[in-house]
């Protein structure tokens, strides 16, 4: 192999950086920056490699698939790795500028980065479990860094439910391995036949992953975790870690689940996703704190993703993946903005937003731009995603999903405008407001622009996705 193995590189670089950051303790920040640059370069190289050569495989240790672990990077992997690089780097810049970021953030986040990269390029059911475990531990740690009683409780709930989800997934992996003596996803896909083993295994894996992706009605753990975590942690949790299990679910669904099982189970997942999309948006409307509002908005946006299961491959899958990307950038930007506002006002009560817009123009510009993706308005990335999903639902004659998408968009508009309206109202009193550091506002704005840019230049990412299996 003459070309550097970027499939392995995208995992190894954040892994090395994470370990050195742990070693560095309080002086982890410069290491995080260097690692972010290195990992971003690796991600770009992987994207280039896949755009040119298509799917890339790497047999770890030189052991071929049934015995060893296969890494496989397709268009989906490349896009996700790229999203991790963009959002992750912005989060590190934000953490540097945001006062009060816990010093353990960098190490915890780099561990999460490594887990996300490992998950994106894995083609092995058990290896995916290990990557999910790494994300569970890193995620709970990111929440617990806040070290307030409420955050610790949220972290505990996060880890217990995530472990329950992992365990369910593992049950399924064990059954599939017992039946087919392989863990490689495409080999499993070729081997499975409808029957009790497949049904129970798939049900356990899907249920576990649904719990981990906060599918309605299993979403209860998410809002306290996202709202209680430190600002920088919430950025990567809501932007990236929250989507990891969905990615595994997509792989499982389209590579392993036998087509005969897909319609009924897909319908169930779609109904739950639709319910979550609406329920999350309604609850977001009822929140009185900005970060809880954003967390419930995440429950809603994650719900849309599950519409891919009744709608199938093709444009629907492209739409869901695109929503993952656009939402990653937009929600990360919004949580950055919320962190800056919380820092400036001392609280993230919505009431404290009154009259804030003129004082923090960049932050509210960010909220407005990123809000476009939540609402699914053109020219945002969220619009492209929803357009693809809408098209798929009309094309397959399942028009009812289109209603969910449209109604959800209106609800999202309602809560986004609620925030913006408050901010542009005249200030109630002359509350003392600390200025948000520019370094914390700019990465947020950059990510909001990325979510917008995804809408303006949708062709290259969608073409890359076509380089999939």
């Amino acid at each position: 192999m003459t070309e550097p193995a970027w499939v392995a590189g995208v995992v190894v670089i954040p892994l090395v950086g994470a370990l050195i950051a742990v070693l560095a303790g309080r002086r982890a920040a410069p290491i995080a920056v260097v690692t972010a640059v290195g990992a971003a370069v690796a991600a770009a190289a992987l994207v280039r490699q896949i755009a040119r050569d298509g799917v890339v495989e790497h047999a770890v240790g030189g052991w071929a698939a049934p015995l060893g672990i296969a890494l496989r990077a397709d268009g989906l992997s490349a896009l996700f790795v790229a999203a991790v690089a963009v959002v992750g780097t912005a989060a590190i810049v934000y953490a540097l500028a945001h006062p009060g970021t816990p010093h353990r953030f960098h190490a915890a986040w780099l561990l999460g980065w490594a887990g996300l990269a490992a998950l994106a390029v894995s083609a092995d059911a058990f290896n995916l479990y290990v990557a999910l475990e790494l994300l569970t531990l890193a995620g709970a740690t990111l929440v617990a860094l806040a070290s307030e009683a409420a955050a610790l409780r949220a972290a505990l709930r996060y880890i217990l439910l995530a472990l329950a989800g992992s365990l369910a997934y593992l049950f399924g992996v064990v059954l599939l391995y017992a039946a087919h003596a392989t863990l490689e996803l495409s080999a499993l896909g070729a081997a499975v036949t409808p029957g009790p083993v497949t049904a129970v295994a798939i049900a356990a894996m899907v249920a576990g992953l649904a719990l981990k992706s906060a599918l309605f009605p299993l979403h209860g753990w998410l809002p306290p975790a996202y709202a209680g975590a430190p600002a920088a942690s919430a950025v990567v949790l809501a932007g990236l870690l929250g989507k990891a299990s969905f990615l595994v679910l997509v792989r499982l669904w389209f590579e392993v689940v036998p087509p005969s099982l897909r319609p009924d189970a897909g319908l169930l997942l779609g109904v739950l996703g639709a319910a979550g999309a609406l329920w999350g948006a309604v609850l977001a409307l009822r929140q009185t704190r900005l970060r809880r509002l954003l967390a419930y908005s995440s429950v809603g946006q994650l719900g849309y993703l599950f519409l891919v299961f009744p709608l199938g491959t093709g444009p629907a899958l492209a739409g869901a993946v695109y929503l993952v990307l656009a939402h990653a950038a937009a929600k990360a930007a919004l949580f950055m903005a919320a962190g800056s506002i919380e820092r400036a006002c001392g609280s993230d009560e919505l009431g404290a937003l009154r009259g804030l817009a003129p004082r923090m123009p960049l932050t509210f510009l960010t909220i407005g731009l990123a809000g476009l993706t939540l609402m699914g308005l053109p020219p945002s990335g969220g619009f492209v995603a929803k357009w693809l999903l809408l098209g798929a639902s009309l094309e397959t004659g399942q028009w009812w999903w289109a209603i969910v998408l449209v109604v959800g968009g209106f609800l999202a508009a309602a809560y986004v405008f609620r925030v913006l309206r408050l901010a542009f109202l005249p200030a109630a009193g002359a509350a003392a407001i600390a200025r948000a550091p520019r370094g914390a506002e700019l990465p947020a704005l950059a990510l909001a622009l990325v979510s917008l840019g995804l809408g303006l230049a949708a062709a290259p990412p969608l073409a890359l996705l076509g380089a999939g299996p």
């Binding site: 392995a8 303790g25 015995l67 672990i69 083993v197």
Partner: protein, 315 residues
């Protein structure tokens, strides 16, 4: 019915009953004893299932570490209001029964135990550097999983440090006292170190390995901590982090080295595989032991100082 089958039946009957009792017992202290009993019965069950590797882990973690950890948490847990720690035993039971029913249905439909990957595992054993198939899987064929698992442990270490920061608690511990526990640690800790080394060495050709050895070493460390002969080292101490990360960093170095020469991640040269695996396992023992010991920071050790009156149950 042969005696072996009768043992299996007894274990199979007792395991779920004990597990249920652990969940359903409102008295925490009673539940801890039941939990330790559950661990022992589970170790025996793994032994009967011809899985000595797992029986070793269960014996080391279940009897050595978990029991001590739970005991250390009693003062804290008992301070919670009864309502907040009432277990929903009924829900747990219903969930467990449903899971058992589904798994039973699926397992009945599994094909007759075929050879699985065993021929492949044994076929490649010659070039794996070790003679024990479990070790070959963990540290050669699927060493990438093990590498990531070790990183999971590092993440756990950061998490523990975030939840139980140990920056200032050092001064609050009593100085070492001459005590029975001290005598016990004098007698047993050297044994624990020896057994840990023995298990690592043995892992190359028989059940054993870094995880089991790390757990044994950690149990020895717990004895020293309780005897106040070892001070909890705060995570902020660079020496601790260095010792913790030496293993993962070496492992990662071995993983990356082939990439530089255009090979595959974690490709072990056949001639060196045995030595490299032993080296990696040896340093990982320290990592695993340290992470387990991090569950006993000074704050937890200090809070286990509950007065004697609570030994007796309230009338």
């Amino acid at each position: 019915m042969s005696a072996g089958l009768a043992i299996d039946a007894a274990l199979a009957l007792v395991l779920p009953v004990l597990a249920w009792a652990v969940v359903a017992t409102p008295d925490l202290r009673k539940a801890i004893v039941l939990f330790m009993a559950l661990g022992l019965v589970a170790a025996l069950a793994w032994a009967r299932l011809a899985a000595p590797d797992i029986a070793l882990v269960e014996a080391a973690i279940g009897t050595g570490v978990t029991g001590a950890l739970l005991m250390s948490c009693v003062p804290w847990a008992e301070s919670l209001t009864p309502a907040s720690r009432r277990a929903r035993a009924d829900l747990a039971l219903a969930g467990a029964l449903a899971v058992v029913a589904c798994l039973g249905w699926a397992i009945r439909a599994l094909p007759e135990a075929g050879p699985g990957l065993t021929p492949a595992v044994l076929g490649a054993l010659e070039v794996s550097g070790v003679e024990h198939p479990v070790t070959a899987v963990l540290l050669n064929y699927r060493s990438y999983d093990t590498l990531l698992e070790i990183v999971v442990l590092v993440a756990a270490a950061i998490g523990i440090d975030a939840v139980l920061p140990d920056d200032d608690a050092r001064r609050r511990l009593a100085p070492p006292a001459r005590s029975l526990v001290g005598v016990l640690s004098h007698l047993l800790v050297p044994g624990a170190v020896l057994v840990a080394g023995f298990l690592v060495w043995k892992g190359a050709h028989a059940p054993g390995g870094a995880f089991q050895a790390g757990a044994v070493l950690a149990a020895g460390g717990i004895l020293l901590l309780f005897a106040r002969r070892l001070r909890p080292v705060p995570f902020a101490a660079r020496a601790l982090r260095g010792a913790l990360l030496a293993g993962p960093l070496l492992f990662l170095g071995v993983a990356v080295a082939p990439l530089v020469r255009g090979g595959r991640l974690l490709e072990l040269p056949v001639a060196w595989a045995g030595v490299l695996i032993l080296a990696i396992e040896t340093v990982l023992v320290v990592t695993i032991a340290i992470v387990l010991l991090m569950f006993f920071p000074a704050r937890v050790l200090a809070s286990s100082r509950a007065p004697a009156a609570t030994v007796e149950d309230p009338p």
